[in-house]
Symmetry: C2
Subunit: 147 residues, 2 copies
């Protein structure tokens, strides 16, 4: 098995392919990590969530880290890590375009398996909120069997 670093283009290609990642945030240096569904578009990771601990923590401290991977087997895998900043996309002028774009992209995928992934009900006020994470830095490693 050979482990090598991935370049930025490879990292972004893998992120584009992944639908589920693990998002870490922290408050008072206590880390917290949860699975999220996401899509990547134009230098940002888009997702949505119910309000709860992770949203509260990211409002306090916008520094986050997302990890995503593709695991074929123990000798053949790729894993990327993104450092970025949390940014909420409230339903109002100024963020409407990004919010609509996020929803258009997110709704193309049916991989909602986390609690935050329930489809918002347009008819009733929903506690869901949209957010994005800037891809400030991305690194990755891949393992391949020795040919």
């Amino acid at each position: 098995m050979v482990i090598t670093e991935m370049d930025r283009a490879d990292c972004l290609a893998l992120l584009q392919k992944c639908r589920i990642g693990r998002l870490a945030c922290s408050a008072s240096d206590q880390p917290y990590v949860i699975p999220i569904s996401f899509v990547v578009d134009g230098g940002y990771i888009y997702s949505f969530s119910l309000t709860g601990q992770k949203i509260e923590w990211m409002r306090q401290n916008s520094k986050v880290c997302l990890q995503a991977d593709e695991l074929e087997n123990k000798r053949n895998w790729r894993s990327v890590i993104v450092y970025g900043r949390y940014e909420e996309l409230p339903d109002r002028i100024g963020t409407k375009v990004q919010r609509d774009r996020a929803w258009a992209l997110l709704s193309q995928h049916a991989q909602w398996w986390e609690p935050g992934g329930l489809k918002p009900v347009a008819e009733a006020p929903a506690p869901h909120l949209f957010y994005r994470i800037s891809i400030d830095e991305v690194t990755g490693r891949k393992a391949r069997p020795i040919a």
Copy 2:
């Protein structure tokens, strides 16, 4: 789909079953998350690693969070989160018993897919180190389809 909280026994049973988790640490409130191989024994999560960023960060700030899950499909999944403290198990009197125990447990499983998971070579000095995380608090959620 019905999402419910898991009790401690359910959480620990899932952790016992999982071999891979995502470990989050943080330094100066910058979170960092990476996949690790692990085993659970007697209130601790055991793993080993090459030295590197995560070890340096956990030496600085021992507060960590580990997430592990079993994802059948979007309507049928379980996910747990552990809060705990990082503790290194150096190769010396005082931690030899835990270290040997960790290695005995870890070597039973062939799921080494992360860089830290390469088998230590007994003949040469290896930069691997063993560590454990106390399971101070564990919570979990599960989703089941509506019958």
